[in-house]
């Protein structure tokens, strides 16, 4: 028999979805909903008190205990969560239910109450979305975790992944903080060199790679699946972990209107101090060994950061309505986000709408839909401006007295303000995602569900640069200018559908055996095109309303291209999962998925991904009955194979490359030919993962925790095998490498209620990860991490981490010519240059003397959250940090474009002849040799969030009103001297600071009102 608890939890997770409507149906349903809702609010007084107890989603809780405070009287709820009780009018009810926080409710004369209970965090009754269904966490043999939407709804972040930073063991979020940007998410290390390393996102059953369209306020739960036993249900796409997002559903028993808003300001906090005009001139002249900059060249003085940055104002509003009745429920919401970047003119706006709805047509048939729409507009400014401001000469004013842009002929960097103001770039677009589903109970315990989802995206963008010039102080035109206005317009159209069909069989056999089997099929297709139009021969109107670019028109020098999106595919899969429990203490989870993908060669289209996990709940054993320490203790182990198929489409096809232009007369020929060879047997990466874990709660469930060891080996990882260039490419992509990530995750939580008005909770997690490339087949080390001007900083090869820094070792500064001559050195080395260590003692300094100096991947990362409630006050703090990694401060060593400005510290402390300075080089022009001098610790500890709130209750006006103050990133503790040690990037070259978005802190006030 399926237990009511199980089934209600199952529904709550799974059917928080509603169905696609026509507008008319939608209006009809809405009016019906409101009619019924208001009817429910009316009613007459009786001595009998009735009520209903539900979970947060409005699913009835059957068997919940209702007691009258101070009395023996009590009852429990029926299968619909309802109860009735004859009691004195002013009693207080105590409602409790296993796995949920107990609640006291004062009747105050009310005779009808609806009570919703919140689940106890870290409790073993916690329900996890596991893909094509849900399961109780205690029944699972894999490593997974769940984060409630309420934990992230009030954070000023665009996407939910940014907000979960520090909250989940094993999940590293690398976030630039730039408006509109998506963070890097690494679950259990970087598992791929050339395939994607980001996890799979599943939003209400729809697989996607971008969740920036999801409003955090609409999220009910984020569930993260980490080990193979948990993720194998997603087979070939599961290797980097799976993030499942469930949006909110309506509430069958409680109508509510929620309004949440916050507004604040974001400030640049990590400004690097630069040299002023005089020091710049001295340094540059010393570097050039000539009086290149004289007093009259200093025509002004500008702090370029001040010129291009500002406090960024942001605001966020969310309004939602949810409710329902026995047979249906709905959730409708609208959200608005408006965020100014700290760069002048940089802004991101997003509007989101959501309509989730489900209805029980008969006792056996349910249908519903989830529908989300988002629309964004981003005014872009290049983040390279931060570097331009870093490099720009401070010698002149941003604007001349006549209002024109200033410049100097003493530096090529130009005027960052001119770059900022003449960059007119906008991205805008919208995205519609929806699922319509139906579920039927065929016989008791066996149900069938079919859901069809769509995801349609349109992204547009334009870049317009007007003709402009910058001027020297003497009025002549400087180098930085655009002689002819130009315009580029692009449009992506992306279409995707997903069709899932699966059976679920959930049954208890006798008292000992419990079985849940899910089996089904899914098919998917994604397709799309990118259109581009370019006009660069001048004559583009300044007024964007006058632009008449068409994607078909080629008059007036316009160039149009149309190309497929990089990631188009068809996929088809079969899956089956069995969760078997014996006597509630021995657990077996087995999963098998067979995946087919058009992205792989005909020889390797299909793959099989099995996983198995075992669990043992010790606290159910008789020998544990006597101990009082542990309330729950589970050991688990799992092993499985999962795949990573994140590869762009058509990689195995031998196809001509186009746009190899040449001119015959005035006729431009679009040359096309084959440029490289392909691997006709290309297939997915296969990850073999072991996981051993312990879950426990102790001391009356006040302490809970989880420890995991994982060993995750990516085999057949994509790698480029190089070969000599003889006219047929120089490498081909194949399945050649092995990458190992192994580590330990630890999370602990402590909840305590000191008295009725005071409680606190502490949660912490830490993850240790070791990444190493184990094998690259017949391939060569991959050199990457370009710094410009042909120099590189990383090398990936066997025995090292992916993207490990590969640099010269420095040993102080050569003080004299005699010092230089006494030791091997590179050509043109002078006193004041770094002494590069001849590591191999061959009397020469060359590439063979470089060494592996660590990577951007942290050895460990951690998070700590504290909450404290006292009466109606609440306080929260969140801390996040990483350790054991390196950052290459590349911008500090680059002056190759001419006279770049230098940091105040670098200029002040520079080596000069006879100074004896041994830790700062001489003034130089050019590109610094790649060395460990520029490699700094990437470790940091940051206070991510501090919040303080107060909750008012004024039943006549609103159910609750919380006002709060919040600050994000107020403090960071780091030794890193650049803008930010947090640098999202590709696996091969991450952690190089060249064009970074600096750390900013935000301060805001917010309000949550429930009516």
């Amino acid at each position: 028999m399926i237990s009511e608890t199980n089934s209600s939890a199952w529904y709550s997770k799974h059917f928080s979805k509603s169905m696609l409507f026509s507008p008319l149906q939608f209006l009809f349903t809405l009016s019906l909903i409101f009619f019924l809702q208001f009817q429910a609010f009316s009613g007459n007084s009786f001595i009998k008190v009735t009520g209903v107890v539900t979970d947060a989603s409005g699913n009835p809780l059957s068997g919940a205990s209702i007691k009258v405070k101070g009395k023996e009287t009590g009852t429990s709820t029926n299968s619909k969560g309802e109860f009735s009780l004859d009691i004195p009018g002013n009693s207080t009810l105590i409602i409790s239910y296993v796995g949920y926080e107990s609640k006291e409710v004062e009747l105050n004369g009310r005779t009808s109450v609806s009570i919703s209970l919140l689940p106890i965090i870290n409790n073993s009754e916690e329900v996890i979305v596991v893909g094509y269904g849900t399961a109780r966490k205690k029944d699972l043999t894999g490593s997974s975790l769940s984060i409630r939407g309420s934990e992230i709804a009030n954070l000023p972040t665009l996407s939910a992944t940014q907000a979960i930073q520090g909250k989940a063991a094993g999940v590293q979020i690398i976030n630039s903080g730039a408006p509109g940007s998506a963070p890097n998410v690494r679950i259990r290390g970087t598992g791929s060199i050339l395939g994607g390393a980001d996890p799979l996102y599943v939003v209400d059953g729809i697989i996607t790679s971008d969740i920036r369209n999801i409003n955090s306020a609409d999220i009910l739960n984020i569930d993260i699946l980490k080990d193979a036993s948990s993720t194998a249900i997603y087979g070939a796409r599961a290797a980097n972990g799976v993030v499942l997002i469930t949006t909110k559903a309506g509430n069958r028993t409680k109508f509510s209107i929620n309004y949440n808003a916050f507004a604040g300001v974001r400030l640049l906090t990590h400004k690097v101090k630069m040299a002023g005009p005089n020091l710049f001139a001295v340094y540059s002249n010393e570097a050039a060994n000539a009086p290149a900059i004289i007093t009259t060249d200093i025509t002004g003085s500008t702090d370029w950061y001040d010129a291009i940055t500002r406090p960024g104002i942001f605001q966020n509003h969310n309004l939602s309505v949810n409710g329902g009745k026995n047979k249906y429920r709905y959730y409708v919401s609208g959200g608005y986000l408006d965020e100014d970047g700290i760069l002048e003119g940089n802004n991101y706006k997003r509007i989101t709408f959501r309509l989730n709805h489900d209805i029980s047509i008969t006792s056996r048939l349910k249908v519903g839909n989830v529908l989300g729409y988002s629309n964004y507009r981003s005014e872009n400014k290049p983040f390279s401006l931060f570097t331009q401001a870093y490099n720009a000469a401070p010698l002149f004013n941003a604007k001349n007295p006549d209002g024109s842009y200033g410049n100097t002929d003493k530096s090529d960097v130009g005027n960052p303000l001119a770059t900022l103001e003449t960059t007119n770039s906008r991205s805008f677009g919208h995205r519609l995602t929806g699922v319509v589903w139906g579920e039927v109970q065929i016989i008791k315990g066996l149900s069938f569900r079919s859901s069809f989802g769509i995801d349609q995206e349109r992204n547009n963008g334009w870049n317009y640069t007007p003709a402009y010039a910058t001027f020297l102080a003497n009025g002549s035109t400087a180098n930085q200018k655009n002689e002819k206005s130009d315009l580029n317009f692009s449009r992506d159209s992306i279409y995707q559908w997903t069709w899932d069909n699966f059976f679920t069989y959930d049954k208890k056999f006798g008292l000992a055996h419990s079985l849940k089997v899910t089996a089904g099929h899914t098919a998917e297709r994604r397709n799309g095109w990118t259109n581009n139009a370019d006009l660069s021969n001048g004559g583009v109107a300044n007024d964007k309303n006058k632009w008449e670019l068409k994607f078909t028109d080629t008059s007036g020098g316009q160039i149009n291209t149309r190309s497929p999106i990089g990631n188009y595919f068809k996929r088809e899969s079969y899956f089956v999962r069995t969760n078997y429990t014996f006597k509630d203490k021995y657990l077996l989870n087995a999963t098998l998925r067979r995946d087919g993908s058009s992205n792989f060669s005909p020889n390797n289209k299909w793959g099989l991904f099995p996983a198995v996990g075992l669990g043992w709940i010790l606290t159910k054993e008789s020998f544990m009955e006597d101990q009082k320490t542990f309330n729950f203790l589970k050991l688990r182990a799992s092993f499985g194979l999962v795949g990573n198929d994140a590869i762009s489409s058509g990689q195995f096809e031998l196809k001509p490359s186009e746009f190899l232009y040449s001119y015959f007369g005035t006729d431009r020929v679009n040359g096309a030919t084959i440029l490289s060879i392909k691997d006709p047997n290309l297939q997915w990466e296969v990850v073999k993962e072991y996981d051993f874990g312990v879950e426990f709660s102790a001391f009356n469930s006040r302490l809970s925790g989880e420890v995991d060891y994982y060993n995750k080996k990516a085999t057949k990882a994509l790698y480029t095998i190089g070969f000599p260039t003889l006219g047929f490419g120089n490498e081909f992509l194949t399945n050649a490498a092995d990458i190992l990530n192994q580590g330990v995750e630890l999370s602990l939580g402590w909840n305590n209620k000191i008295n009725t008005s005071m409680s606190y909770g502490l949660k912490g997690n830490i993850t240790f990860n070791k990444n190493s490339v184990e094998n690259i087949g017949i391939g060569q080390a991959l050199i990457s991490g370009g710094l410009g001007n042909g120099t590189t900083a990383t090398k990936t090869t066997v025995g090292n981490e992916i993207g490990e820094f590969w640099v010269y070792r420095t040993d102080g500064i050569f003080q004299t010519d005699a010092d230089v001559n006494a030791y091997p050195h590179l050509i043109n080395t002078m006193p004041g240059d770094f002494k590069l260590v001849d590591v191999n003692n061959d009397g020469m300094i060359n590439e063979n003397d470089k060494y592996y100096a660590g990577s951007y991947q942290p050895k460990f990362f951690y998070g700590f959250n504290g909450t404290f409630n006292w009466k109606k006050f609440d306080f929260g703090i969140e801390v996040y940090g990483v350790g054991g990694n390196k950052v290459y401060n590349a911008k500090k060593g680059l002056r190759f474009g001419g006279n770049y400005n230098v940091e105040l510290d670098v200029a002040t402390n520079r080596w000069t002849p006879g100074s004896g300075i041994n830790n700062y080089p001489r003034a130089f022009n050019g590109t610094a040799t790649v060395s460990d001098y520029y490699l700094e610790s990437g470790a940091f500890t940051r206070i991510n969030n501090i919040s303080a709130g107060y909750t008012f209750t004024m039943k006549k006006v609103f159910k609750s009103l919380r006002v709060y103050a919040h600050t994000q990133n107020p403090f960071i503790f780091t030794k890193y001297t650049g803008f930010t040690p947090e640098l999202p990037g590709g696996a091969l070259s991450s952690g190089i600071e060249l064009n970074a978005y600096p750390i900013s802190a935000s301060y805001m006030l917010g309000v949550n009102v429930q009516f």
Binding site: L365, F448, N537, S649, F723, L726
Partner: protein, 488 residues
């Protein structure tokens, strides 16, 4: 009769059956974009695109630009690295000072660029024969592909000597590894000569103005003439240059400086050019102009590959070619642009200059309007003169040489001995052909490289430096199957 509930169940089961009975072809995606079959099915257009891709390589950065200047010019006594002292231009300073080794990037780039051209030519030669187009046109395209393959090999063989011999398409990594073996330079020359002989029979005598940039028979003759010079096949060098002269199509432009201006493109002196177009959409030799354009305040470019003082002094007094080849710091150029008096270098290359005001320029200086003059009549006269002199016809040689001197505003030379004449031809070749990617190879060809460069203060070591090193990266990628030149 099914009741309502059971009907629903059946409907859902039907859904499932439909879903799982998806056809096997569901997972087969039609390739996006152009396929080889598309090119073959549309032969008129497809054949042009295949040959266009080979020509396109001539515009690429790694064939004719920064690295090529480094290898063919900066190494020589005509040129220096230039630019700011602190900017090494990757390895250009090392090339200038003959301090490079096999890891220097410029060698790798020109290796890659020219072999890519060879690969594209092989693909054109693979597919063109089976394409259904007019036989004359097909012949012409095949002739062009052969000429281009020979041209790319020509750039490589002069730099590296023995090379992998690629005369057909390689389709797998194993094939490529197997082909990564150097064949003797003589075999490479044999392949080039065979290709060029074929091209001479297949290419047209001239191209209409709508097809400027495509090769004529004289382009193939010119290359074969120059190859013959390197092989000391004097009679063929003479035969080829005579054949070009006898067409009567070509003459020297009266004004030497006009050759490198837009107004001098495809002139009476021109035999083959890379056709850069600076109007929108522009296509030019990537970075050719901007890497060499004058640097400094108000400058136009990076200022690499600058004329040396030695070259400046090599011109006879009154030689008009000096000021057409070398621009000087502070000088006002023909179009009114002034090179900054504060420019870091005393001289810049005038032949690579593009006027932003007087010539076609759409604002993009990366791919400029500049045509690279691959072969011009002036060089044909030099080849002819040298061949005639070596064949003991000093009188005929003198005529050709005097034609060039006369245009340069210099007096004619009178009758001299064969050996003295040879020296005059070499000297004339230096000043006539400066900054035309000829000097370094010419010094080696004539056995003068060690003497000249050592006198120029460079640590030139013969025989090591008589060839450049095989790029170490290519050797590593071949698992050292590619051998290294002696001394590196």
């Amino acid at each position: 009769m099914l009741n309502y509930k059971n009907k629903t169940a059946v409907i859902f089961l039907l859904f499932l059956v439909t879903a799982i009975s998806c056809k096997k072809s569901f997972l087969t995606e039609e390739p996006r974009g152009v396929t080889i079959q598309d090119l073959i099915n549309d032969p008129q257009n497809g054949s042009q695109r295949l040959i266009g891709a080979v020509y396109s390589k001539m515009y690429d950065w790694n064939v004719h630009s920064f690295s090529w200047n480094g290898v063919s010019s900066i190494t020589s006594d005509d040129a220096e690295k230039g630019s700011d002292a602190g900017d090494p231009g990757v390895d250009k300073g090392l090339l200038d000072n003959w301090a490079f080794d096999a890891t220097s990037l410029s060698f790798d780039e020109i290796w890659i660029g020219n072999f890519e051209g060879i690969g594209r030519a092989c693909y054109a030669l693979k597919f063109l024969p089976e394409m259904n187009i007019d036989a004359t046109l097909k012949n012409r395209y095949i002739g062009e592909a052969k000429l281009l393959r020979a041209y790319f090999y020509w750039n490589l063989v002069r730099a590296f000597g023995d090379l992998p011999k690629i005369d057909h398409v390689l389709e797998s990594q194993a094939d490529i590894q197997a082909a990564s073996i150097r064949s003797p330079a003589s075999e490479i020359y044999a392949l080039m000569e065979a290709d060029l002989s074929d091209a001479i029979t297949m290419l047209p005598p001239s191209v209409p103005s709508a097809e400027k940039g495509r090769a004529t028979v004289d382009a193939a003759r010119a290359l074969l003439a120059k190859v013959s010079l390197y092989n000391k096949n004097w009679s063929r060098a003479k035969a080829m240059s005579d054949a070009i002269v006898s067409t009567g199509r070509y003459s020297l432009l009266p004004d030497y400086s006009m050759i490198w201006k837009e107004a001098g493109e495809f002139s009476a002196e021109s035999i083959w050019e890379v056709n850069g177009v600076g109007s929108t959409p522009n296509r030019g030799i990537e970075g050719y102009f901007v890497t060499q354009a004058p640097r400094g305040p108000g400058g136009l470019g990076w200022g690499f590959n600058i004329p040396s003082a030695d070259l400046f002094g090599a011109y006879e007094p009154g030689d008009k070619r000096r000021d057409a080849t070398i621009m000087q710091r502070g000088q006002t150029l023909w179009d009114g642009f002034q090179v900054s008096p504060l420019a870091p270098n005393p001289y810049y290359n005038y032949k690579s200059y593009v006027s932003k005001t007087q010539e076609t320029f759409n604002g993009e200086d990366w791919q400029s309007n500049k045509n690279l003059r691959l072969f011009r009549f002036g060089e044909i006269l030099l080849i002819k003169a040298e061949a005639e002199n070596e064949l003991n016809d000093t009188t005929a040689a003198k005529l050709s040489l005097n034609a060039l001197r006369s245009r340069a505003g210099l007096p004619a030379i009178s009758a001299i001995s064969k050996d003295i004449m040879r020296g005059r031809i070499y000297k004339e070749r230096r000043v006539e052909m400066a900054f035309e990617h000829d000097r370094m190879f010419d010094l080696r060809r004539t056995g003068r490289s060690a003497a000249v460069l050592i006198a120029h203060g460079k640590p030139y070591m013969s025989p090591k430096h008589d060839l450049f090193p095989i790029p170490q990266r290519q050797r590593d990628l071949s698992a050292l199957r590619l051998s290294q030149n002696p001394g590196y």
